[in-house]
């Protein structure tokens, strides 16, 4: 009655299973060893940042301004503020643009030359060094307005994250079952209604994941804001003035000859790593691959 599973799974060529097993074990072991090796730099960074950043960590860091060179005390509240504002500006610019473009190229004209061009450019843009985004925003915003500003920094970050948002949104839309679209068109919905009421809500968690990834990317970048938003010792009062950011603060303070400023840079690193990691984790949590 019973089939013969053992016979079925054994090698037809008669290769001894002992050697196959050995080779298999060896390869498995190698893979485990190598993947542990990749964890080493990652874990060392985390340990280093925590060890150096933790001692100074207190609420004051978040609420106070950086000290003048040579002095001690104070924090980097203005840099956190500045990063938030500039990431916010970049989202304001990049999310609508990215999501609408993705909707266009995936829902309205998946095979048009325009869509292919947009897709191609977006993929190219993901590979562009972030400093180039800074250079562009410098030329386009700083040079024309004659001001370093949060706006300029936001524009640079927007260029950086636009392709991320566009491409993840396109993926998200592609993940929406075409049976939903068919059902919607079948009861007489327009393309707009179908997208707005069916497709986008269903894709939303995946789109949010893309946005979160973009946030963590934008918050951590130095190059795009380095010479567009520059830096500031003071609280941000207008988006048209030079603005501090966590990443530039780290860059600036780490190279100063003052022990306290270097400690501040470490603490800022800790805050930045924490924020970026949290957004990343949040992004994974939001996207629970549901009923498909």
């Amino acid at each position: 009655m019973k089939p013969k599973p053992l016979h079925f799974f054994s090698s037809p060529k008669g290769e001894t299973s002992f050697f196959r097993l050995l080779r298999n074990r060896f390869l498995t072991g190698l893979c485990i060893a190598l993947s542990l090796l990749t964890l080493v730099p990652l874990i060392s960074i985390v340990i280093l940042v925590i060890r150096n950043g933790l001692p100074l960590l207190s609420m004051n860091l978040f609420s106070q301004l950086p000290p003048a060179p040579g002095l001690e005390g104070g924090g980097f509240g203005n840099a956190i503020m500045g990063t938030l504002v500039m990431v916010g500006i970049s989202l304001l610019l990049a999310v609508p643009l990215g999501v609408f473009s993705a909707v266009y190229i995936n829902e309205y004209a998946p095979v048009s030359p325009v869509s292919s061009a947009v897709r191609f450019v977006a993929k190219l843009l993901t590979g562009i060094p972030s400093i180039i985004c800074g250079v562009f925003a410098f030329a386009a915003v700083v040079m024309t307005s004659h001001h370093f500003s949060a706006i300029a920094g936001g524009v640079a970050l927007a260029i950086l994250i636009l392709p991320i948002i566009l491409l993840t949104t396109e993926q998200a839309l592609m993940g929406v079952s075409s049976a939903y679209r068919e059902a919607s068109f079948g009861v007489g919905a327009t393309a707009f209604q179908t997208i707005w009421r069916i497709v986008l809500p269903d894709a939303m968690p995946a789109i949010m994941t893309g946005v979160m990834l973009a946030v963590s990317r934008a918050a951590g970048e130095t190059a795009p804001v380095l010479f567009t938003a520059l830096f500031s010792q003071n609280w941000i009062t207008s988006v048209l003035e030079p603005t501090a950011s966590l990443s530039v603060l780290i860059y600036n303070f780490a190279s100063l000859p003052y022990a306290y400023h270097i400690k501040l840079a470490w603490s800022a690193s800790l805050v930045l790593v924490t924020v970026v990691t949290m957004t990343n984790i949040l992004a994974q949590l939001i996207f629970s691959p549901k009923h498909r």
Partner: protein
């Protein structure tokens, strides 16, 4: 091969006397009229000049081997096939005397008057209630009492009301396969269409759920003209009064179901029915 025009005799001896409302002239034999209709996917001609007249308030089944163009014709009645890039058609389809391809016809309005049920049940990832209300919402109907009334009426028509009336606001994705398909039928009739198109609606259902849907189809033909694609010969003979047999993009034979299954006039039909090919 040429398809000769059958004058369709509506048998007077059907179980139920037809109750036709004023909207339709009694015995309207050419409610849907397919006139030398050809359909192309790119260069591939999937339908080679179909001529067919479908009377109102009947159940018509489309049968034929896989790939013969049943779905293609069905999906042209509500112009769903237009959504596929690179398709075109020749010839005409008229409903109630109006060409559905006429520039004055709004495809949105057309689809509201023609409900469609798909092979794989496809409720939206929303509540049972919202699934049925969706066709109303997109038509701009926002009245709660109309919503409530429609939900109850459609679920009753779809023989689903008793099973779900206590959980209308639960996700539709928690229903069983057969319930989902009946929900899709309920959704398809929510915009009060006149025609119901069903593309193998039972192919993913177990025999009990299939029996329920079949009962439902027989019940619904009082109010709707139903065109159903099926691979199940028993189903075709159980639910439909008229049957069209397609083969390789041609309409081979169209006649009373009873005649098709007992005494077909074409050899190909007979061979298909008796399972010698297909």
């Amino acid at each position: 091969m040429s398809t000769e025009e059958h004058p369709i005799q509506i048998p007077n001896s059907t179980a139920r006397p037809l109750e036709l409302t004023d909207d339709f002239s009694p015995g309207e034999t050419n409610f849907i009229k397919v006139d030398n209709f050809k359909f192309f996917y790119g260069k591939k001609e999937a339908l080679h000049g179909i001529n067919l007249e479908i009377p109102s308030r009947r159940v018509i089944s489309f049968i034929g081997p896989s790939g013969c163009g049943k779905s293609t014709l069905l999906r042209n009645f509500n112009r769903m096939n237009e959504l596929i890039p690179g398709v075109r058609h020749e010839g005409d389809i008229t409903i109630h005397g109006t060409s559905i391809f006429d520039p004055s016809v709004e495809v949105i309005a057309l689809r509201r008057r023609i409900g469609m049920v798909f092979q794989k049940s496809n409720p939206f990832p929303m509540s049972i209630y919202e699934n049925i209300v969706y066709p109303l919402r997109i038509a701009g109907q926002g009245d709660r009492s109309v919503h409530d009334e429609t939900v109850e009426r459609c679920l009753c028509s779809a023989a689903l009301w008793d099973e779900v009336k206590d959980r209308l606001h639960d996700s539709a994705l928690g229903l069983s396969g057969g319930q989902m398909q009946r929900l899709c039928i309920a959704r398809a009739i929510a915009s009060s269409p006149e025609i119901l198109l069903m593309d193998e609606p039972c192919s993913a259902l177990d025999p009990i759920a299939t029996a329920k849907v079949e009962e439902l189809i027989i019940e619904l033909k009082k109010d709707f003209t139903i065109v159903i694609v099926t691979h199940n010969m028993q189903q075709a003979s159980r639910v439909s009064e008229l049957t069209a047999f397609f083969y390789l993009g041609n309409l081979v034979e169209f006649d009373e179901t009873r005649k098709i299954f007992t005494n077909p006039s074409k050899l190909q039909t007979e061979e298909y029915i008796t399972g010698r090919f297909g």
